[in-house]
Each structure stands twice: as C-alpha cells, then as structure tokens.
C-alpha cells in the first residue's frame, strides 16, 4: 500500500479509498456469524485484491477463519502470493484443484502450504478457486468457516457461487462491474435470463436480486492502475461509480528515443507513440474499408508498431520506479477480440522475434496489468455492429489494462457505425441490462474521448 506521505499520490483519492475499504470491512466483520453479505465494487485497477488482503488482520484478531475464493486458478495463485507476502506471520493454506499446482516460486514461500481439502480444516486462511472450495464443501471434505471472501465476484457466475455460498454465513464480495460477464457455450445461453434461477447471473447479481435490502454495497472510488489521463474515458463504463486516479498527474512518464521516420507507416507509428506517451492514449485509424476480422493490413500495422516501439527503446518512470526503467517486451500486451486475430499476431510476432509480447483476447486479459497496451478495436472494419462486438465489457477490458499508455487501432468509419440507429433488441423480464444499447452508448463515449488523440493514415 502506498504511504499517504508519498508525494506521488492523490491524497484525497487515497483517503476516500481507505475509508471505503474500512467501511466495507467494518460492515463485513460487524455481521460476523449472521447470514449477511457486503459488496465492494471497484473500477479496473482499483487494488481490490489489496482490499481482500486487508481482511486478514481483523479476521485473525476475531479468531475468524476465512475462505477466499476466485473464479480462476491464475487469480488464486496471485492471491496466495499477495497474502503470503503481506502477512508473513500468517500461514496461507492453498487448496488446489486436481492436476493443478502452485507455481514454484509461490509454493516455496515459507508461509504457504498446499494441501488437500481435508487437511485444510482448521486452517485460518484458506485460498482456492470457487469451484474447488464449493466442490470440497459439498462433498463434506471442507468444513464451514466463519467468513467467505470472493474476489472478482462479477466474473463469478451464480452457479459457482451456489456451490460455495454455505461455506460461511458472512460474505464479502469484491469485484469490477465493468468487465466481461460470465458466459456459457451452451446452445441457448439466454434461456434463463431474467429468471431467478439463471446460473449465468453474476454472484453479485444473484445476491442483490435476493437480498437487496440487507446487502450493503460500497464503492471503491479509485484506480491505482489508470492515471488521470485515462479516467475520463473509462468513466463511460462505470455509470454508477465515480472514481479518481491514485497517482498524481506527471508522475507517470513514458519516453521513446528520438527517431526519424523513413516511410508513411513509420511516420504514423511514430506519431502514435509520441501522442500516447504525452496523453496516455492514441487512436490510429486506417482508411475505411470492409475487412475480415483477422485483417492482414491491421496485423502488419501492429507488427510494425511493436517493432518500432522497441526499436525506440521505451523507458518509463513512475511511482514504483523513481529512475528510468526500460520496458521489457513482457510489459507490452496486444488485446484483441477474436482467436484468429490472436493466432495470426502470435505467429507473426514470434517470427520477428517478439515471443514475450503478450497477445490475448479480452477474455484472457481480464485482471491483468501491463505498462503499455495496443488495443485492436472490436469494431474495426465491421460492416454492422452486433452484441458481441458492442459488448461494453470487452471494450472496457481492452482499454483498462495499461499503466502508461494505450494505443487503440481501428478504421476510420468504425465510429460512424454508431451514428446510425441501434438495431431492435430483445428483452427479458427481470433483467434490465441491454447489451446492445448499453454497448452503443459506451462505445460512443469512448470514441468521443479518443477524439483529441486521433490519427488517420
């Protein structure tokens, strides 16, 4: 956690965040022993996991045993590490799913143990995926604890929450509502949409649906990942939650070595790099043209951008690094919407010597953080927008992974798709969101916010 004395930080934001965290934890612990849930909502990069980590000392003081669950294995691993490093006096007990095991460097930590569920009973702090904890509880191998904390609870679906909910009477649900919703590959995933039994509701959704009156919802009004240049755009994804950047303006600096462009493409790429280093954003538009999802021209541009980026030796300074640090290739990620975009980019980048640059779909980028992100706009070159491409969660993930800069790439008539009228949309009793209409608004707001940083080839 930052020290409030540190002059890199917005004190007001830090205080507000500390207060919100304190209030949420207080609410959680106040109701220990009762069937009660507290929700802590936060925007991307808020440091939610930090809030989860803060549950440990009060729990230990009250001699409360905690189980902490996450949707995915990777999230569980990261959580074990954070908990272990933050609370070196506490033993962190990890219960792995079968055929899964903690990465070596985490398993090696002196206060981390990895055991079967049956041996975890009695442990003070138990960590696992929600599925594993639920399964072990259901089979009777894991006995109830006093408090259940769920991280990424907007990614956890109602059916997983069902499995683990009786593990403890008192719950703390932490999560980011802006990201992608749970989904299923079943033939008709909207079959139960709006009905209380819908297994694809988020954990927070089903909780509020059934216990709205007695569930306190707290907002964590901060982002530690995004800086003040990114916040105005990202607000479009969080209509019911206001927040500020933790880090003060000017603290984050990204620079590139000077260079002379020898082609039109390089000139464009250089401009994009320079704009993004100044404003935190750049929006590069290729000429309008109908194109395939895995648009070869865009792939060429992205490869050229990555090559030029590293040719110009990017270096950064920030609240974590007082002196200039050169960005490594693994600090850069390219976010896409489709697997074929990913496959082709991966192939090309590997063949030009950039195997460490991350290329992933938005689904896989959820929860991750990078120094610089190249975002292939979901609407790039599409003739007609649809629910998948308009999904505000997808765009939100792509545009909130970066600490220093995000370069958005698309085509010049992408935003004009949204000048037309949104199509007619289906409706579901008991379910208010409308992914197409919500997405339409969010995308329009994002384009508007990118306008000052736009470059057209």
């Amino acid at each position: 956690m930052e020290s409030a004395r540190d002059n890199h930080f917005n004190r007001r934001a830090l205080h507000a965040a500390a207060r919100a965290t304190r209030d949420a934890l207080q609410d959680f612990f106040l109701h220990a022993g009762e069937e009660h849930a507290t929700v802590l909502k936060a925007p991307a990069g808020a440091g939610k996991t930090g809030a989860v980590v803060l549950t440990v000392p009060p729990a230990r003081r009250r001699k409360m045993r905690l189980a902490i669950g996450t949707p995915t294995n990777d999230q569980a691993f990261a959580l074990v590490e954070r908990l272990a490093r933050s609370h070196t006096n506490e033993t962190i007990t990890f219960v792995p799913a079968s055929a899964v095991s903690l990465p070596q460097q985490i398993a090696r930590l002196p206060n981390v143990v990895q055991v079967e569920a049956a041996q975890a009973n009695g442990a003070a702090i138990i960590v696992g995926t929600i599925s594993k904890l639920g399964d072990a509880f259901c089979r009777g191998t894991l006995t109830p604890v006093d408090g259940l904390v769920i991280d990424e609870s907007f990614q956890a679906d109602s059916s997983r929450y069902y499995g683990v909910a009786d593990l403890a009477p008192t719950h703390l649900l932490v999560g980011d509502s802006g990201q992608l919703n749970p989904f299923s590959t079943m033939p008709d995933p909207y079959r139960w949409r709006g009905l209380p039994e819908d297994p694809l509701q988020t954990a927070v959704g089903v909780l509020l649906r059934n216990h709205d009156a007695r569930t306190q919802v707290h907002n964590l009004p901060i982002s530690r990942r995004l800086d003040h240049r990114a916040v105005p755009l990202v607000r479009a994804f969080y209509s019911d939650l206001s927040f500020e950047a933790a880090v003060l303006p000017g603290v984050r600096k990204l620079q590139f070595d000077p260079a002379t462009a020898t082609s039109r493409t390089l000139r464009l790429v250089d401009q994009a790099l320079e704009i993004s280093s100044r404003s935190g954003w750049a929006h590069v538009e290729l000429p309008p043209a109908p194109v395939l999802a895995a648009d070869p021209e865009m792939i060429d541009l992205i490869v050229a951008l990555v090559q030029r980026l590293f040719q110009r030796r990017p270096h950064a300074r920030c609240e974590r690094h007082a002196s200039w640090n050169e960005l490594q290739t693994r600090h850069v990620a390219i976010g896409v919407s489709h697997n074929d975009q990913k496959d082709l980019l991966r192939f090309r980048l590997d063949s030009v010597g950039f195997p460490e640059v991350v290329v992933e779909t938005a689904n896989k980028l959820q929860g991750l953080e990078f120094e610089l992100v190249i975002a292939w706009h979901p609407l790039a070159g599409i003739p007609e927008p649809d629910e998948f491409h308009l999904d505000p969660g997808r765009l939100c993930v792509l545009l909130t992974r970066h600490r220093h800069a995000c370069i958005v790439l698309g085509r010049a008539d992408d935003r004009h798709l949204l000048d037309a009228l949104p199509p007619a949309t289906p409706a579901f009793l008991g379910w208010d969101p409308d992914p197409i209409l919500d997405g339409w608004e969010a995308h329009r707001a994002a384009f508007a916010a990118l306008e000052p940083h736009r470059l057209t080839l």
């Binding site: 089979r139 069902y162 009786d166 033939p187």
Partner: protein, 482 residues
C-alpha cells in the same frame, strides 16, 4: 457461419441447388417414428385446431377440435391423440437391458420412440401443449383424464429434451436438413421447410431460388396462413352456431366434417413433405457415433417414463441447482457432439481446419519408441510427424486429439517447420505411454482441438444456500388457472 459455409452458400446460389455439408447423416431416423403435424387457430398458443398423426406415411390420421378455444373441445381432440400417442410412446419402455453405471446397475429401454415433426415451431407448440396439460388436476370440479395429463408430461419431456445437442428423440425436419445442407438463404428463411426443401430438391430446370420463392408461400404450420384462416372463419362460426353451446361428442362429431375437410389438405400437405424429407435423409449413411448418442437418448427416455409412471411431476421452473447442472450438461453435450461429428465426418472437420482448430496431413514418420523423462523416470512418448499443405498457426504445447482417438489423452505440438513443396512439417507428441492406436505412415491423419473426454464438474450442494433464496418468497401462483 464461416468461410466454408459462405463458400458453399455461394456455390449453391450459382448452381441453383443446396450443397451438402456433411458426408454422413448425424441423427438416427427410426423405421417407425411417431409423426405429428400440428395447426394452431390463429395465434392461440395453447390449443391445437388440427392434429395429423401416424407412424408411417400411409398411416395418416386427422383430428380436428372444431372450436379449439373451447376447453372441452380442445381437450376432446387432444384426448383422442393421447389415446394413440401414449401407447405408441410408452410401449418401448417395456423391454429393457441392464446397463452398468458406476457402482450400480440401471435398466435402459432397448429402443425408444422417435417423434418427427416438420419444424422447430412445432416443437415449441408441443412444449406449450405440454405445459397446459401436464399440470391439469385429476380431481375437483373440472378434472382432466390421466391420459391427457400423461400426454402433457411426455410433451414437456420431449420439448425439454429437444434442447440437448445431438438428441434424437424428437427430430424436426428443418433442424435435420439445416444440419446437413447449406443454401444461400438466410437463417429465418431456412425455417420454412417447404422453401428449404425446394433448394435441396428443386424441380428440374428451376433454380433453387425460384423454387423456394414459390414454396415459401405454402403454410406448413403450426401457424396458419391468414388466407386459409379467412376461409375457416365462417366454418367455425357455422359450427358454433349449430352446436349451440353443446360439447357433447354425439352433437359435435357430425358437425366436424366441414372443418376436417378444410384442414385435411393442409395437414396432408405438411405430412407428405415431412415424410419426403425424412425418407430422403434416411438414404444417407448414418455416422458411426450416432448409436452412442442414441444410447443416451434411450436412457433419458427410460428415466422419464419411469419417473412419470411412478407419479412423478416436474416443476414448471427449475431450481437454481437444476439450472446450473443442466447448463453444464448441455455445455458438455455440445462439446462432445461437436467432437464426434468432426471425427466421424471429413466434410465437417473442414471448418476446424479453416479455423486453426485442426491440422491435417500425410503421416511421414511415427516414432513409437521415443522417450522422455517424466518425474525422474523415462516414459514412452510416441512422436508423429505429418506433412500439411497448409500453414499451422497453432503454438507449441497446444493440445490436440487424433480424430480417430478423440477420447484418449491428447497430443501436443512440439515442432513446426517448413518442408519440401511448400508443405509444413508438424510433429506431435502423444502425452501418454498407454498403448493406444497410432496413425500409420502413408495415411492421412487429422488432429483437432475436439475431444470427447468429459470434464470434472464441481459438485453442488443439495440445499439452496441463503444467497440464492429470495428474502421474501414470492406468493406461489396457481399452476392451473383455467
């Protein structure tokens, strides 16, 4: 849709006829199915104005309700259907085999009934009729017959089962044809069985588009054609006038003739088309994995009949637990059916090849003796190298299954390099030392991301946790509100 489908749609438009997208037939077609044709009255969702039924093309039977908006008359018609249908449907359950299932044995009917209908709208209507009939009271002021309620329960079961990927207990011809053929029509247009069939088998000399454009004006049901109902309107009025409020069978039966005459050609037309489509598809060779899925269907059927005949009822809505379990079951069924169909059918795997989810090529080399150190010990890990004419974009470590052994442990890609003749050499390593069948040099082998291996499902507790129970339980609505 992918580029294969759009290429076939394009070719279909050029040739004026549909293109086959599967080499096999991936649904079984029983010899003596239960065929049903249903017609609604206008937009009345919960009653049938006309019912065609039989177990072979020449066994055509027609029932009309007369005035289906009248409960007694609607039920009288459905009762006549129930008397025939229930027997046909339940018969198969009498002859069982014993099947081992983990720790216990269970019985499974040797065969199961198969219901065939024209389109998925008919399946929806069967679901609505099931919903109406299954919860009727057997006692009280307006009791329904046990047979009618059982019909409703069978209909509800069929409607629910219809959503299971690959199932074959209730087959709609539009779904069957759309699974196996590509036309240039949009998805909505392909819901008209007549229009779809017209593209598959256009009259000689006529382009599929023209044939379909005429055919799509033909009403197939359950929704009636507006003009047909215009003609029906005075007949129903006359019928109602003559019966003068009576619903006694002796009064009704003689009055039904004009309405039956109205519906007979309409229902018969759908009937004939239904059988023509079925018979045509039956001519295609059945895919090897179909019997395994039929085993699942037989089991589902057996479980349903046992439950129903023991007096079991199903809720109108699923509990959160049931919905969660069903979701997983459907996801898994979807993945397994896709894997089986891709493994069975060289045409269907093409989509995966295009999608970078599969690779295919000549087997150049099989090294059965290759070994690796696994957990301190040397273990056999056979290597297979294929030569593919197409580039491979899949990364090292990607898990793939040989399409002949989709249920075994996977292979992983260990090497991709350029070969002669602009081919690509891909080396895959089998991740097990078990002696399973390996590809042979000289033959074509295909490796895909499809597998029929099942996943571990987290168990779910039998009781609903407090989070999933509403804090103020909703007042239960009466099930039967007639």
């Amino acid at each position: 849709m992918d580029h294969l489908e759009v290429a076939l749609a394009a070719r279909a438009l050029r040739e004026g006829r549909a293109f086959r997208k599967a080499a096999f037939r991936h649904r079984c077609l029983s010899e003596n199915p239960i065929a049903l044709v249903l017609y609604q009255l206008g937009a009345e969702p919960f009653s049938a104005a006309a019912i065609g039924f039989g177990h072979c093309k020449s066994d055509f039977n027609l029932i009309v309700a007369g005035e289906p908006r009248n409960r007694d008359l609607a039920f009288a018609a459905l009762q006549r259907l129930a008397q025939w249908f229930n027997t046909m449907f339940e018969n198969a359950a009498a002859h069982r085999e014993t099947v081992p299932n983990r720790n216990r044995e269970q019985t499974r009917a040797n065969t199961a009934p198969q219901v065939i209908v024209a389109n998925s709208a008919t399946i929806e209507m069967i679901g609505r009729l099931g919903r109406r009939l299954a919860y009727l009271p057997l006692t009280g002021p307006r009791p329904a017959s046990a047979e009618l309620v059982r019909l409703g329960q069978h209909f509800l079961f069929l409607h629910r089962h219809a959503g299971t990927p690959g199932q074959q207990l209730i087959v709609s011809m539009t779904d069957l044809l759309n699974e196996h053929w590509v036309t240039p029509q949009s998805p909505m247009e392909r819901q008209s069985l007549a229009a779809l069939y017209a593209y598959i088998a256009p009259p000689p000399g006529l382009h599929g588009y023209e044939a379909a454009a005429s055919a799509e004006r033909i009403a197939i049901g359950p929704l009636p054609d507006g003009d047909d109902d215009e003609k029906l309107d005075p007949l129903v009025q006359e019928f109602n006038g003559r019966r003068n409020g009576s619903t006694a069978p002796s009064v009704i039966a003689p009055l039904l003739a004009p309405i039956a005459s109205h519906y007979r050609p309409l229902v018969r037309r759908t009937w004939d088309l239904l059988w023509t489509c079925r018979d045509r598809e039956a001519g295609w060779q059945q895919a090897p994995s179909v019997p395994r899925r039929w085993d699942d269907d037989r089991q589902a059927y057996t479980d349903h009949v046992d439950w129903t005949l023991r007096g079991g009822h199903r809720r109108t809505r699923l509990t959160p637990r049931q919905a969660a379990m069903l979701m997983r079951k459907l996801e898994e069924a979807q993945a397994i059916v896709a894997a089986e169909q891709a493994s069975d059918d060289p045409l269907l795997i093409v989509s995966d090849l295009l999608d970078e989810k599969a690779v295919q090529g000549w087997v150049l080399r099989v090294d059965e003796t290759h070994q690796e150190i696994v957990n301190v010990r040397a273990a056999r890990r056979p290597l297979v190298t294929i030569s593919s004419p197409d580039p491979c974009l899949m990364p090292h470590g990607k898990e793939l299954w040989w399409t002949r052994t989709p249920g075994s442990p996977p292979y992983v890609i260990v090497d991709v390099r350029a070969g002669p003749n602009q081919h690509v050499l891909i080396t895959l390593k089998l991740t097990t030392s078990s002696r399973i069948q390996l590809p042979r040099t000289g033959e074509t082998a295909c490796f895909s991301a499809h597998t029929t291996r099942t996943h571990w499902f987290a168990a779910l507790p039998p009781s609903t946790p407090w989070t999933h129970r509403p804090s103020s339980p909703p007042t239960p609505a009466p099930i039967e509100d007639e």
